[in-house]
Structure formats: C-alpha cells, structure tokens
C-alpha cells in the first residue's frame, strides 16, 4: 500500500465487456500520459469490475468529482489528462447522453440507467479494485464473516437467513435459510459447500460480473454459509469460458488465505474452511446441481434423481449445500445490515433485489439490479431506455431458455418469483430479452427449444425424445408445413415433458413454447392455416417481393443486393423478381430509390 494520498482516482472498468472494447490499451495510454505530465504521484488508476453498462464501454469514472465518461478510447486520453485532470474541466463530449432526451449527464448517479437501480449484490462492482483485498475490507468487507464466526452460533445464522426471506437466485427460488437448515441438520463427519457459477443461460452474465468485480463478496458469503451448516471445504464451480473471473477469484482466494480469512482457525474461532475452484467445460446441464456434483467428482455431468437431496447425500456422498453466486453475494449485506433492512426491500414473498441481464431490442443493454417488485415497464423503458429505432414492444422473455414470453399486457407486472410463475414464465437466473414487432414468436420459441434440445443430456426419455419431437413440429410450422392439430400436439407433449422429466432442464424446456402458444396463439395459427408469418421472419412463409413496373426506373440497385439472383432486367427498363427464386429476405426493398418494391 502506498502511503501518500492521491488527489484523484481514475477508475477504469476492466470487466470482460470493457476489455473487449479496449479498456486495457486505454489504461496503458493513461499511464503514459500521466507520467508525461508528471501526475503519476497525484492520480491513481484503479481497475474495477463491470459497471453493468458494457454497451457504452470502455467506462471511466474520475473521482473526487465522480464524472462518468463512456466509450473512452486511447485517443481521448491526452484531452482527459490536459483538460480534466490538470485543469479541472469536464470533457463534455465523452459524457453519457440519455437516448430519449439527448441530455448530457455528468455524474453517474443521475443517469436513468442507474437511478432506478438498487445495488446489493453488485454494490462494489465498478467501485473497487477486485484484485485488492484491502479495498474490499475498506468498505466493510469480511466484517459479516467476522461477526458470524466470533459472535453468533450456527443456528442463529441459519435463522437470520430464514428470516430474511432470501430465495435462491440461481433459478429455482428455493428459500436459502431452509436449505441451510437441511444441510445443518444432516449429521456427518464431513460436509461440503458449493457455489454454482456455471451460468449456462445464453446471454446471462451476472454471476461472471460479480466474480470479476467483487470476488471477495462470494468468499465471504460462502464463509458464512460454511460456518452455518458446518462445512470445512468448498468448491466454486465456474465454467472455463470465464478466464478473467477465474483469475480474479484465484487471486482473491490467495489473498484471503494470506490474511487468514480462509484456512485454519479463522478469526481464532476454531473454524476452518478451505476453498477450491473447479472449472467446468460449459455444458448447460452441468448447472443443474446433481449433474454439477457428478462433474466435480470427475463423472459425466448428468443429473441423478432427487431425493436424496444434496443436503442429505451430495458431493462424494456427503451432505452438501449448493447456492448460486448471487445468492451468496447477498449474505454479507443481510448479516451487516440486518433482516429488517433486507425485508424492507422487495415484495412480500420475494425480499431483496435481483440482477437482470437486459438484452435484445433495447437501447441500454446491460446488467441491472432492481428491488423485487419493480415492474417490467420500469426495467424496460426507464432503465433500459426503451426500444431502439422507435420500434414497438412485442414481448419480453424472462428466465433464460427455460422461461417464457410475456406480451404487452403484462408490462405493469411487478417482477418477483411468484408473479412470474403465475404468468407462465419464471425468474430463472435473470435473463431478460426484449423483443420488438419484428420478432416472430414461433421462431423465438423454436430458437430456445433448439438450445434446450441440443443441451439435453439424453439420460431420460421424455426430455431426450420429447423435446426433439416438439422441435420437429416447430420446424415444420416455421417451414410452412404446419398441420391442423399441431398446436394441440405441442401443448400435450409440453405438459408431459414437464411432468415426467428427470431434471429441471426437461421440466422447464417446453416453457417458451407453452407461453408463446398461450399469448401469441394467433401467430401459430397464421403460420399453420394461412401459411403466413406475420412478422415476416420465417422466410419460407413470407411472400415473394414484387416490383411495380410502372414505378421502376431500371437502375439495377435491387438486383445487385439480391443474395439469390432472383432479380433480372435491362438497365433503364423495368426489372422483375422471379417469385420461385425469391427467399423474401427483403434486402432489395430499402435499396430502391423510388419505392417500387413491396412484398406481394
């Protein structure tokens, strides 16, 4: 630690998103520029984890003013140093501009994307250097663990978590305190604790961001859980595709060991805890708890029937508690701030906050943490900044590949575990994909089912065969060969797969299909009866394009872009499109200078 005081801290986000948009070279340029201006001793550069606003990366925040710069490139560094760091003038062109109002916002608390958020799990992400244990400690880190280990008995800890109403953030929403109680009650000479950081949902990256941005919070949450259930050994199961998360977690474990926060006799309490990292190969089903434990044991990552539940017979046959990354990230807050403060956030049956990965046809994609009970509308339109290019909202998909799609009528729905289940979808791990009027819901259902079908481990028949048959039917419908009775068949198959599959993968795989049939049945019917895809996505169904001969000026622009050479003609004479060759991709339409092309 350096003793002298820096007058200013420049925080550069080096989360995976910002690194891919150039944060590392940005940091190097800043280092050079500071040295050239003799400012290195006055200004400290801090690498932080993800701010959730990767869309606008690389992100830089300058303290003490707290000015938020986005999309900063190396070329901007000289100006930032000269103007801001030397002369104290904000570089306005790098400030964030609200998409709706075009207003420039200097400080990040005032940006609509952050204003409505409440950060517990992500509290330190983007604020501290994740590779510096002292920064975590400076903000009160490890005090919850210290308090638990030295002042509370195990049952008190379990009761606190029960009273907090915390539910698992990994998908199922099972009450965490109750799960800990089961594991605590199991008598055994050895128990294990697991953190599930497999994060298999396509597009989800909340767990990765927490591990990258605040790894000590996970270690602390696990320490508390291990003490509560009586485990002395733990695993964090991370997919190998998360190299930065693994690197930072490894560093955090090393530093915690050095400080005696992991290892033997922690806080002189007599409690020992050893933590390992296990890298997974990235199969979706390995996120399922029994498959995950098989994978740690070196077996094939396939689920096994429950019961017995992990709390009774888990890893290597010993009682085991398994929770998600975000679940553990909430633990230090609950211990430090108390149950009342936690339950005051959120709704009756779902206390606290939830992190969502907001993606799709929306202006501000990114990671957002909001209190449970926030409405879909607030997340999509206020935090997400609405849909891009003035498009109309059509549906939002929550819960990842096994969740469901909700239509516009549900925009006012307060988001919590139970409200989403009632509406036919689920919380899942927090994926949220926004779709606009150009999305075909049958195609969306087919996309997700295609994912779950290919990730099905093949062990149980309903999931292996059932999802395959459902996918065949969906392919038929989107190819224009849908038959009378297909919808009913999908519903019947879906219900059977849900009720008879071995694990959560099969039990939820039909959800995208069932929910789109429920809310967008007319689109299925249009595909089957009228051989028409209303959104114009399923190209086999879309009508061929035609050229209005009267209007055509024979410029040949359309023919040049046609990917299948369906357009022919002579310059200055009307062109024609061969309807048998046309795939209705629509590429020609915007090219026409006189609007002579339309879909027939």
């Amino acid at each position: 630690m350096k003793d002298s005081i820096y007058r200013s801290h420049v925080l550069i986000c080096t989360g995976t998103g910002c690194v891919s948009s150039g944060a590392k070279t940005l940091k190097d340029s800043l280092n050079e520029e500071l040295a050239a201006n003799d400012l290195s001793g006055e200004i400290k550069i801090v690498e932080t984890g993800c701010h959730g606003f990767c869309e606008k990366g690389p992100i830089m925040i300058v303290y003490p003013e707290g000015v938020f710069y986005c999309e900063v490139q190396s070329d901007d560094v000289a100006e930032i140093v000269e103007e801001h760091l030397l002369k104290g003038r904000t570089v306005e062109r790098l400030l964030f501009k609200e998409p709706m109002t075009e207003e420039q916002i200097p400080s990040y608390q005032d940006i609509a994307f952050y204003k409505k958020q409440q950060r517990i799990a992500l509290a330190n992400c983007g604020k501290i250097d994740p590779e510096d244990i002292d920064e975590y400690i400076a903000l009160g880190g490890y005090e919850a663990a210290g308090k638990v280990l030295t002042e509370m008995d195990a049952q008190e800890v379990v009761d606190t978590i029960k009273d907090s109403g915390l539910r698992g953030r990994g998908g199922g929403g099972f009450p965490t305190g109750l799960k800990w109680q089961f594991a605590k009650n199991s008598e055994s000479d050895k128990k294990y604790l697991i953190c599930n950081a497999d994060e298999g949902d396509p597009g989800a990256f909340m767990d990765r961001s927490i591990l990258e941005g605040d790894p000590h919070r996970i270690i602390e949450g696990m320490l508390v859980a291990a003490y509560a259930i009586g485990a002395d050994e733990g695993y964090v199961y991370v997919r190998a595709e998360y190299p930065l998360a693994i690197k930072r977690l490894e560093k955090a474990i090393e530093d915690a060991e050095e400080y005696g926060l992991l290892g033997d006799d922690i806080f002189s309490s007599g409690f020992n805890f050893k933590l390992h990292i296990k890298k997974g190969a990235g199969a979706f089903v390995c996120g399922e708890e029994t498959a995950l434990m098989n994978s740690i044991e070196g077996k094939r990552g396939m689920p096994t029937p429950r019961p017995p539940y992990p709390a009774v017979r888990g890893l290597w046959g010993k009682p085991t508690n398994i929770n998600n990354v975000e679940t553990y990230a909430n633990i230090p807050y609950i211990i430090n701030e108390g149950v009342d403060k936690f339950t005051a956030i959120g709704t009756e049956g779902s206390s606290g906050t939830k992190v969502f990965a907001l993606t799709g046809k929306i202006n501000n994609t990114g990671l957002v943490e909001v209190p449970m009970g926030t409405t879909l509308k607030e997340v999509i339109f206020e935090i997400g900044g609405g849909l891009g290019q003035g498009k109309k909202f059509k549906a939002v998909q929550t819960g990842g590949p096994s969740g469901g799609c909700l239509p516009e009528d549900y925009l006012d729905l307060p988001i919590d575990y139970d409200s989403l289940l009632d509406a036919g979808t689920m919380m899942g791990s927090g994926g949220m994909v926004v779709m606009d009027e150009d999305s075909c819901m049958v195609d969306v259902a087919r996309f997700f089912l295609n994912f779950t079908q290919s990730e099905s481990c093949g062990k149980c028949t309903p999931c292996r065969e059932g999802t395959k048959r459902m996918l065949e039917i969906l392919n038929r419908i989107t190819d224009g060969e849908g038959k009378e009775g297909d919808i009913e068949l999908l519903l019947e198959l879906g219900e059977h797969i849900k009720s008879t599959s071995l694990c959560g993968l099969g039990q939820s795989a039909p959800n995208p299909v069932l929910s789109t049939v429920r809310y967008f049945r007319d689109e299925y019917e249009a595909h089957i009866h009228d051989h028409n895809c209303p959104a114009g996505v399923c190209s086999d169904l879309a009508g061929a394009y035609v050229i209005d001969e009267e209007a055509c000026i024979g410029c040949s622009k359309c023919a040049k872009v046609c990917p299948v050479d369906a357009i022919s003609g002579e310059i200055k004479n009307p062109f024609t499109i061969d309807p048998d060759v046309c795939i209705a991709c629509g590429a020609c339409e915007p090219e026409c200078p006189v609007d002579a092309i339309s879909q027939g």
Partner: protein, 120 residues
C-alpha cells in the same frame, strides 16, 4: 486474521484512500488550473495543497477549475467548507497555502488578508 478487532483496525488503515471516492459532503479546495494559473505557478500550489493535506491527514476533496477571469490574481484557490460560503484566495505563495489550510480549513477562520472574493 485473529479477531474482528484486528480486521477493523486494518479497515481503518485502508479506508483513508477510499474516501476519495466518497461523494458525501466535506471540505473542498479548488485550485485554479487554467493556462493562466499554471503559468503563474498553480502546479506548485496544487502540490503544496496536497502535501499539507497529507501532512495533517485531512479528509478534504481537492479539485481543479479552469480560468475564472481573474488571471492577474493567479495563482488562486477556493475553499468551500460544508454549509459555508465559498471563499477565493489569490496571489498565493506556498507559505500562504499552509496558512490557509491551518487557519481556514482546519479551524474555520477565514484568512482575511488573502481573500479576493466571497461567493454565495
């Protein structure tokens, strides 16, 4: 880590630096760092401010500002205590900086003979 007390002791030690990122209200010293200020020696004034703050272990936010139109009075600094008027001092030497920090920032007494403006 042997005890919670030991952890808290470490926390106090490492906390100081993190206060830079604290957006709460605290005393602020603003150094005029326009081209005019820098020409008149504002860089040395800024360094003197930082040295004095460090010596006295004060929790003060130091920021800079551009030219405020009083170039002939540079180098300038402003002192803003929470809930008080912002005071501008001008024609400063490094010794003046020490005096301003001791008397104004620490003890709350404005150094009248160096003041060139008071703002609301």
């Amino acid at each position: 880590m042997k005890s919670l007390a030991e952890l808290k002791e470490l926390r106090n030690k490492v906390q100081k630096e993190m206060k830079k990122r604290d957006q709460g209200t605290k005393a602020e010293i603003i150094v005029g760092m326009g081209t005019c200020g820098i020409a008149a020696g504002a860089r040395d004034i800024l360094k003197a401010v930082l040295a004095e703050i460090e010596k006295r272990d004060l929790d003060v936010r130091v920021t800079q500002t551009g030219c405020i139109g009083m170039c002939e009075k540079e180098p300038l600094i402003d002192v803003k205590l929470p809930g008080k008027k912002r005071i501008t001092y001008g024609n400063l030497s490094e010794a003046d900086v020490q005096k301003i920090i001791t008397e104004h920032v620490v003890n709350g007494n404005i150094v009248t003979d160096l003041v060139i403006a008071r703002h609301n």
